[in-house]
Amino acid sequence: MIRPTINPRRAGHWTIAAWALASIGLLSESAHAQTPEVIFDAAVSAYQRGRFDSAAVGFLSLARAGIDDARVWYNLGNSHFKAGRIGSALVAYRRGLRLHPRDADLQANLRYVSLFAVDKIEPVGVFFLEEWWRAVADRISFSEARTLAALAMWCAVLLTVGRLWPGPRPRVALWLVIAGWGLWLSATGAAASRYARDVQRRDGVIVVARADVRSGPGDSYALQFTAHDGLSGTIQRTDSAWHFVLFPNGLKGWIAAADFELI
């Protein structure tokens, strides 16, 4: 078995994770030095025994200890969903999709769990080119897009050198150069798009049963409407413990940061 390389700076996190699992009975207290695989297997076992909250704690402790693996997010989403936490499940699935955008299981479960969101709102329509571009960009992860952009750059540079090299120049060479730079531009754009969405983390989901959306950053402001577990939105700005969130149907309002988990 190939063991993952663990960052020594995160060793403390493993201890915390092990203690957390021990406290809910997933691991024995003598197992503090367990590897991520052991914790993973223990959480899977808890899930299979119907202890979904315990399984969620196990997978979450792995994530917090530095494991950024799509399988962990996928299992965490399943555990949250089985425990009745729709919003948290959606967050976990979307974090998994950030790493593996084409994972069929993640896509299926995200689509399925989305059906259980209370607020079924009609998204505001976008320009068809933007919609197409989002669909394309969502098919690849940030790291994939970044690698593709680098390869495209090499490809475009070599094609350009070939085009400029002294000697006979076939007409197709010019089109190859244009195609190469076009590929680089697309891949860079996709990488920038994923960077904006994944790394800057502006998207989030409501993770409480009812969340009051107010006209200002505080409980004293007027209540505009009430959103429910599982409704996604995009943060436009933040003021202390409140986010100003834009929802897909165009409504905006301030929501307590504790009620809104970033993806």
Partner: protein, 597 residues
């Protein structure tokens, strides 16, 4: 004026009038040819001609009617440079009694020609009651407890507004009644502007009622309109006045002292009048706090509940639809979804609602249905949850709770595992519910740790900066090649020093003669100034070097060195070739040249 001009002008004058006359139209029309004895005929004369100034027509004999002018409308249009004027003269004709009458020909004379309208036959029946037919006439309503507030003085025509109650609960139906009393004719249809009713949920009740009522010995035709109001909050509510715009004959105008009250024919005009009611007040109370259940839905009225189920025996996974119907009197649209307890082993969701609002008998009622779908997950016999809805009952003046009957269903087949909260779904998403989340990923080997550097890591620089720099270097080299190809002299000048230096350094290791040193120096000059090496004269060289602002000392030393080489050619040669001092001196000299560029 010459005869030819007079002839042309006569032809034009003879030709124009027939064309103009062909466009003149003079017509008469009425809105109805049969009216009751107290009805009104609206008579219109329309004159259209291609001139801006038209004469007034002459009215026919209208002795069988009282005639009131309703004004005139004029329209001037320019089409293809032609002017067309159209004037409509409007009259209200009030018959003096029943019978068959004929409105005779109206006349107008334009350019010496007389135009007439067609006669129109009018039948005035013996039947009265204004424009209300026997079928439309209704019995007056029984005396109601509402207190009418008449608007304006009772001068044969007035309006009243009233409410059927002075005090109401929030969301309790209140009827607003508007009545229009008239004992004289109207010259046009009245225009009703109802109050805005802020703070109320409003439902219009139809149709309007018409009947007769005698007040103080005067018999009035009454038109009654009703509006149902549902107060939305507690407090003292004020209902703004209602307004009715009418047009009536004004016999007080048109006297000798009032010449402006008559039209061009000396006929009396009608008078527009706006009737206005007084504002009303309504005290709206919140339903009593005492005994108010926490789950009170805010509904007030008289209601009952019934329920039905689509199937009582189903297989696991098959949906069971329970339809709960609430019907009665009250604000049907505000009925909330009935509550029910969750039931284990079932997935539940709302499938939809439908409502039917009835306004029969000037009461708001109807029914609202809610469909709830239950999807069983395990086999067995189950009692579906009881639906309940709390409301304030106006009959008993207390809170009441509607409950549905207990429905028992039998579920057959194998059970499936599930644990989901209740949810609200669209019907087309039902098929997806039969599934579940895909199962866990159990392989935990080779878990990936958090990714390394972000956007600008080493991979980024390796992937983008290195090829980009390489491309820039290649482009620079390529440009230099192209520049040299385009300008060989420049290349020679650039490479002159390097080429000469190479020759002389080769001489340090090999046997070279002073003639070779001189040749290297002359070739350097040739390359630097792009001229042929052979045939160079010293004076020309000196001039070129001076023009190139070569320092005088360097110039002299260069010329001395060339002279010394020339002289050495005629000295008997020793076999050792050029002395190394000579080569060193030449290299030093070339370096000075290079620095002087």
């Amino acid at each position: 004026m010459s005869r030819a001009r007079i002839t042309i002008l006569a032809c034009l004058l003879a030709a124009l009038p027939p064309a103009a006359r062909a466009d003149i139209r003079f017509t008469a029309s009425v809105d109805t040819d049969s009216i009751p004895r107290d009805g009104v005929v609206h008579f219109t004369l329309t004159l259209q001609a291609p001139e801006q100034s038209l004469p007034n027509p002459t009215l026919p004999d209208l002795g069988a009617f009282e005639v009131f002018s309703s004004g005139r409308a004029q329209n001037v249009s320019y089409v293809d440079g032609r002017v067309t004027t159209s004037i409509a003269y409007n009259y209200a004709l009030v018959p003096r009694g029943p019978g068959n009458y004929t409105i005779g020909e109206a006349k107008v004379t334009i350019d010496g020609k007389e135009y007439t309208t067609q006669p129109i036959a009018i039948v005035v029946t013996k039947e009265g009651a204004g424009s209300v037919t026997q079928q439309q006439r209704q019995q007056p309503p029984p005396e109601t407890p509402d207190r009418e507030k008449p608007g304006g003085k009772r001068e044969g025509i007035f309006i009243t507004t009233s409410l059927d109650k002075d005090t109401a609960l929030v969301n309790e139906p209140v009827t607003f009644i508007f009545r229009f009393y008239r004992a004289q004719r109207l010259l046009s249809s009245p225009e009703y502007n109802r109050p805005e009713f802020p703070g109320f949920w409003v439902e219009e009740l139809s149709p309007q009622r018409r009947y007769r009522r005698t007040i103080d010995g005067v018999e009035y035709d009454v038109t009654e309109l009703r509006t149902m109001l549902f107060p939305t909050d507690a407090g003292v509510k004020t209902i703004e006045p209602a307004r009715l715009k009418i047009a009536i004959p004004n016999r007080s105008r048109g006297s000798a002292l009032d010449p402006f009250g008559r039209d061009i024919f000396g006929l009396i005009g009608g008078e527009d009048r706006v009737l206005q009611s007084d504002p009303l007040s309504l005290i709206v109370l919140a339903p009593p706090a005492r005994g108010r259940p926490e789950n009170w839905s805010g509904l007030v009225g008289r209601f009952r509940m019934k329920s039905s189920v689509s199937a009582r025996e189903v297989a696991v996974g098959d949906p069971i639809t329970v339809t709960v119907t609430i019907e009665g009197e009250g604000n049907i649209k505000s009925i909330a979804r009935p509550q029910f307890d969750s039931i284990p082993d079932f997935r539940t969701f709302s499938a939809g609602t439908s409502e039917t609002v009835s306004k029969e008998g000037y009461r708001i009622g109807g029914m609202k249905s809610f469909e709830e779908v239950f999807v069983p997950q395990r086999a067995g016999v189950y009692a579906l949850p009881v639906f309940s809805l709390c409301y304030y009952d106006l009959n008993s003046q207390r809170y009441a709770t509607l409950t549905s009957d207990t429905i028992t269903v039998t579920v057959t087949g194998a059970s499936t595992d599930f644990s989901l909260p209740s949810l609200r779904l669209q019907p087309d998403e039902l098929s997806d519910l039969a599934a579940d989340v895909r199962f866990l990923k159990t392989d935990g080997t080779d878990l990936r740790t958090v990714a390394g550097p972000g956007l600008f890591g080493p991979a980024f620089w390796a992937g983008h900066l290195v090829p980009l720099c390489g491309l820039l270097a290649f482009v620079g080299w390529r440009r230099r090649i192209l520049r040299d190809q385009a300008n060989p002299a420049s290349r020679r000048r650039r490479l002159a020093y390097r080429s000469a230096l190479q020759r002389l350094r080769n001489g340090e290791s090999a046997r070279v003669s002073t003639a070779d040193v001189a040749s290297a120096l002359e070739q350097f000059f040739s390359d630097r100034y792009n001229c042929a090496a052979r045939g160079l004269r010293r004076n020309d060289m000196r001039d070129l070097l001076a023009k190139d602002r070569v320092p005088e000392s360097t110039l002299n030393e260069y010329m001395d060195l060339l002279d010394w080489c020339d002289r050495s050619r005629y000295v008997p040669a020793d076999s050792d070739g050029a002395p190394s001092e000579l080569i060193t001196r030449a290299i030093s000299l070339l370096a000075e040249f290079e620095q002087s560029r």
